[in-house]
Amino acid sequence: MTLTAPAAPALSTDEVLALRRDFPLLQREGLVYLDSTATSQRPRQVLDAEVAYVEHEHAAVHRGAHTLAAEATERFEEARGTVAAFIGADDDEVVWTSGATAALNLVAGAIGNASAGRGGAEADRFRLREGDEVVVTELEHHADLVPWQELALRTGATLRWIPVDDDGALRMDEAARIVGPRTRVLAFSHVSNVLGAVNPVADLVALAREHGALTVLDACQSVPHLPFDVRTLGVDLVAFSGHKMLGPTGIGALWGRREVLNALPPFLTGGSMITTVTMERSEYLPAPQRFEAGTQPTSQAIGLAEAVRYLQGVGMERVAAHEAAIGDRLAEGLDAIDGVRLLGPRPGAPRVGLASFVVDGVHAHDVGQVLDEAGVAVRVGHHCAQPLHRRLGVTASTRASGYVYTTEDEVDRFLEATVQAVRFFGVRS
């Protein structure tokens, strides 16, 4: 997303309608699917690619010498290359994982292993000791919070966090106070899955660099929605999930700078990540294989590569412009409804295509129920971000989130249904 003027025109209604035809699930009668931040739908191209692989090419990759296995390995590595290119990375810097949660656990777990003395001298730079600090933010998804809590508990390091203001924006004044010489890791999300706001990556990276801290970016809500380039961002490690970007479940990726990945000890261990194994000890391959223990999600990698090609076909600049338009419409529409409190950036301020809100005196579950009755699928709850909700003074919120296939008309149907929900529950207690 361009924070000032869009670099590309938003998608026209006709273009969106044409795209929608690729999504079997979106043909469901009467459905307005506004839960893409939780999981996106898959176009038939992705399904077809996965099925074609399974029907014609499936075999164990990196293990067999027969033709089928060699072909499967090639397709699998091509998929890696496609995903790597999509984020501006080299092939050997992309590690397949089962998802973003697994990727973030991998990083925290590998640092934990380094702290327990694994990985030799190279891994020493990752070693956490009492007095060291790991810094996250108050708006993190639980996937980028709980693993760091566990790491802190295991190593004796202290977990600190950058607070947010009443609009959910990171308090950068506080950040400058919190990130300091004790900071060893700074983990934060690129885009909040609750607020849709884009966090100031460059400023956070600059702070971390100043103190030599490792930066870990939770890019679950940016890689699918914005042009994304690991080199420009300047972070050290990046995690994202396939199922949020038109791809299959069961696949995600960790990107890391080559020298960081090759210095980190492994996390999951087993087959295909070793060179020599005796009963006493094992030696490990370099990245990415070092982190890919066991049979990999092969058909899912091929599906994800196809999802990437699909997004490239649309163009990420245009995806971002479309999302900005959807996000604006959601935010403005919600803000205009009496009794609705929009969370996060004010209408008009930059956001991706999502908006969360609360209805005064009405629980999100009840709002969601009325929306569901009207065919509108939204997410209600804490969206795996309890601390942020607590900070904003609510336990739960309702979130409407669109994607490349979302029409303005759908946003309007959602807004109408929200007005009905407000009316239905009437009196505010």
């Binding site: 009207a374 209600v380 804490h382 336990t395 009905q420 009196v427 207690s429």
Partner: protein, 145 residues
Amino acid sequence: MSGTGSLYQELILDLSRHPRAKGLHDGADASSHQVNPTCGDEVTVQLHLDGDVVRAVRWDGEGCAISQASASILAELAPGLTLDDLGSRIALFRTAMRSKGRIEPDEELLGDAVALGGVSKYTARVKCAMLPWVAAEDALAHRAA
């Protein structure tokens, strides 16, 4: 909005606005705190007893109309029941809630909980209706232990 209407019966909307027995009292004989992990809703249910008989149920918590109403209904149903009776009513209520609309709550045994009958068709909401009952069950179990 017939569906939502059947879910949100007048009694439920009413109770969600004007809850009964809400607010905890000192001296409970057993209590339990339960959380719905999806939405973070919380409820604490207290049992105040006379020997083996429930004198009063008090509760507090935050949640949706369904869970709030359900807590009020439970609190109105329980007084006068023996602990065993309360346990079996809870089991009965669970059976109805998990029935996907096939089993209506028995009015004679479950009183106003009939108004929650519609919930069982909405699997995602069953947890909301159950939350206070699960808390009561847990309180019972811990008292027994």
